[in-house]
């Protein structure tokens, strides 16, 4: 008896040791391989856009057009901030990782919203983001989260216990550099870009070793003396020429290229301060993620006087083009044009306006705008916030459609004024107004619950574009403008919000409204979807809270 007991005890010990080791190994290890195949584990949301292709499209289909009316609120998380709430959460094996202003990371149970821990990063008082103390979410690699901070640091955080692992200074906050984007992890590197286009920064995209935080490379979005493209600047204009990179890029593993949008040249509105094309402002750059070397670029808006940042999430689509399969890059630009490029080499394939445009009468054979500057004091379409902006678009491989949050019939009277660069101070050189003197016009900020712009100064819409023709398949018009991202799913549902605070489900094929909930506050970020214990959830930020829905 005693012998048997001893044996069984030894076995129990060995089994429990084995169990411990196995369980330890099961720790949320998000490998490069998992990130590459993130679409194939739709129960999780592993990157800002849901996959490297920037599509914000999920294979989940439990929630479908026939039952979406049965969605009900499962939980709410109230953030401890009154700043704009732009965080896209990650969901990894049942745990949600969310950020709240200024730079807190919160780990929650994705099923119930209960909080495991909060990491608070103390932001330097030197931080001076242009447009709100916002953060758009973390990235994950292995068991480590990465957060880009508003005072331009990159911080690595243990995903299990919320403790910081390393903290690398990326740029000088006092000089107007900030970071608001969710980083992009490619292989063993964490890639970020800086904001600060309104402060006369010299923009860049940088990669850091995920393990140590050491800088691996830096690509300046304004070429220095001797580098190709530097000739598109005069004198010292390039030193304070802006071209930030404040939204997350995309990645094509087959081509081993990352695609990143760049923002406005600086100062924003007075082009006499920076004659020339101002490369690589308002462009997409294709970089080698291992070295940061430029493979190609395409500039959407040369010598931009309108603040037409081209920081949109690059959407990668593999589709037929003139009857042959082609690797496409789809881009609904803030300047009001929709573009299709060949993402292997940056060749312009096609482009046309998707909203009313009068700053250019079209694009030439190379995609360069044929500009038609408007007379002083008259409105330019689209206005300063653009035909769309940084709000995540979506592309559904099932419908083959590109979905954009658009601002329709929206204009600004642009006025450039004199300005001199002073470190850390705003350098926009503009005094813009709405098209109707004295009346409110939608801008980048929030408004209260009363919409004072009305139909007179533009309105929002979700539009579905056929990438082959740029034609609208359908339009879902809103009264107020929309700053929401878009999510589509394999059940042909489209989820989006807007400034009015409605969270809406549309039929992705027809644009028909299938369900809506009034969440009572601006929806500024993009929705995500995930699954826990066989149940599909939809999450969206509205006002200052996260709302999570699932079927009854």
């Amino acid at each position: 008896m005693s012998g048997t007991n001893r044996v069984s005890r030894v076995w129990t010990w060995a089994l429990s040791a084995l169990f411990t080791l196995t369980a330890g190994a099961l720790h949320a290890q998000v490998s490069s391989d998992r990130l590459l195949r993130s679409s194939s584990e739709p129960q999780n949301w592993l990157t800002y856009s849901g996959n490297y292709a920037g599509q914000r499209y999920s294979l989940l289909r439990q929630i479908e057009p026939a039952n979406v009316k049965n969605l009900e609120l499962k939980w709410v998380f109230q953030e401890q901030s009154l700043q704009k709430f732009e965080s896209t959460p990650l969901v990894v094996d049942g745990i949600m990782y969310l950020t709240q202003s200024p730079n807190d990371v919160i780990a929650l149970d994705a099923k119930s919203g209960h909080v495991f821990w909060v990491y608070h990063y103390p932001v330097s008082p030197a931080a001076r983001p242009c447009c709100g103390v916002v953060n758009r979410g973390v990235a994950i690699f292995g068991n480590t989260l990465f957060m880009a901070t508003v005072d331009a640091h990159l911080v690595a955080i243990d995903a299990t216990n919320g403790h910081p692992i390393w903290n690398t200074k990326v740029a000088e906050a006092a000089a107007g550099y900030a970071m608001t984007l969710s980083p992009l992890v490619v292989k063993d590197k964490v890639i970020v870009g800086v904001a600060g286009g309104e402060f006369g920064i010299r923009g860049f995209i940088s990669a850091y070793d995920a393990r140590t935080g050491a800088q691996a490379w830096r690509f300046y979005t304004i070429p220095g003396p001797g580098e190709p493209g530097h000739e598109t600047w005069q004198g010292n204009d390039w030193e304070h020429g802006g071209a930030p990179a404040w939204v997350t890029g995309s990645y094509d593993p087959d081509l081993n290229l990352i695609y990143w949008g760049t923002g406005n040249p600086g100062p924003d509105f007075n082009i006499s301060k920076r004659p020339g094309d101002n490369l690589y402002a308002d462009s997409v750059v294709a970089l080698d993620p291992d070295t940061g070397k430029l493979k190609w670029y395409f500039q959407f808006t040369p010598n931009d006087p309108y603040d037409y940042d081209s920081v949109q999430v690059p959407v990668l689509a593999d589709a037929d083009w003139n009857s042959a399969p082609r690797k496409l890059l789809l881009w609904g630009n803030r300047n009001g044009f929709f573009y299709v490029l060949d993402r292997t080499n940056g060749k312009f394939l096609f482009g046309r306006p998707f909203v009313k445009v009068n700053w250019a009468r079209g694009l030439d054979d190379y995609g360069r705008p044929i500009v038609t500057p408007q007379p002083a004091g008259t409105p330019t379409f689209p206005g300063q916030q653009g035909g769309t902006n940084w709000y995540s678009p979506s592309y559904s491989p099932r419908t083959g459609l590109m979905y954009l949050s658009a601002w329709e019939d929206y204009s600004t009277v642009f006025v450039g004024i004199p300005a001199e660069y002073k470190e850390g101070q705003r350098y926009t050189a503009g005094a813009n107004t709405g098209p109707i003197p004295g009346a409110d016009s939608p801008g980048g900020g929030q408004h209260g619950p009363v919409n004072t712009y009305t139909e007179a100064t533009g309105h929002g819409a979700v539009i579905a574009l056929d990438p082959h023709t740029g034609e609208r398949k359908w339009t879902f018009a809103m009264h107020d403008v929309t700053t929401s991202g878009i999510l589509t799913t394999a059940s042909d549902l489209l989820f989006t919000g807007g400034r009015e605070g409605y969270f809406q489900a549309l039929n992705a094929r027809t644009g028909e409204l299938l369900w809506k909930a009034n969440l009572g506050g601006d929806i500024i970020s993009g929705p995500v979807t995930y699954e826990v214990d066989g149940k599909q959830y939809i999450s969206v930020d509205a006002g200052h809270a996260v709302f999570v829905f699932a079927l009854r």
Partner: protein, 244 residues
């Protein structure tokens, strides 16, 4: 002629723990003697050992002056963490009576060896990304807890344990038992990190049994280590300031 300030300092002196005073002495020697001198009497109108200040009355005043500096004077602001500040205050209030020869000064490198070796601390605690997460991560404990508190934890872990760190034991209705360190709790649910280091959220309605264990899983080092070894361990823990 005792001033109000020095009278107060003398009255309050007995309440400062020796470990904090010793830690403060180290910091004072490294950071303050350049201007104030070893005896604290080199700045005109100020004699720290005698309790003579220009403006400080309370310990809160002293912390404020050290943290904020005095504009218009050479006194700069110091970015001390909570345990350093406690040490500075304790030392300045006890400079007159402090005898470095009697201090059982800990050695941080010996403490680190104990932490990873004979003390067996690293088998439960994590430091700077290494070690298990079952017990609290100590990467920044030296900035959060005072020298005195760290010493007391080693002797009586249960008395010094923060209530949120208590272990819980939950038995599900299907009989499965889950134990771990509590991270959060409300009326209907509890969140914990289990022994396999998974973050787990449990609905109390799914549980057959739920127990909060009020005794610390950490053993007392009162008899396992001698005074010098515990001082070494505390000296090491005080070097753990977290990621800057």
């Amino acid at each position: 002629m005792a001033t109000v300030a020095s009278a107060r300092a003398q009255n309050a002196a007995p309440s400062y723990p020796p470990a904090d005073i010793e830690y403060g002495a180290k910091i004072f020697r490294a950071q303050c003697t350049g201007c104030h001198g070893v005896n604290g009497d080199q700045v005109a109108g100020v004699n720290l050992a005698a309790g003579q200040f220009r403006s400080v009355l309370s310990d809160a005043d002293l912390r404020a002056v050290v943290s904020n500096g005095i504009p218009g004077t050479p006194m700069p602001p110091f970015h001390f963490d909570a345990s350093e500040l406690a040490g500075i205050v304790a030392y300045v209030r006890n400079m007159r009576n402090f005898d470095a020869r009697n201090a059982s000064s800990g050695d941080a490198s010996r403490g680190e060896s104990l932490f990873n070796g004979a003390g067996n601390c690293a088998s439960c605690h994590r430091v700077n990304g290494k070690g298990p997460r079952v017990a609290p991560d100590l990467s920044d404990v030296g900035a959060l807890r005072t020298a005195d508190a760290l010493g007391r934890i080693l002797v009586d872990p249960t008395a010094a344990m923060l209530p949120v760190n208590r272990s819980v034991r939950a038995v599900l209705k299907n009989g499965k038992t889950i134990t771990g360190r509590r991270l959060n709790e409300d009326t209907y649910s509890v969140q914990l990190i289990d022994e396999q280091e998974h973050l787990v959220s449990l609905d109390k309605s799914d549980l057959r049994e739920f127990t909060v264990i009020t005794t610390s899983l950490m053993p007392s080092y009162k008899d396992k280590l001698n005074d010098q070894q515990r001082a070494d361990l505390v000296a090491y823990l005080l070097t753990l300031k977290g990621t800057k």
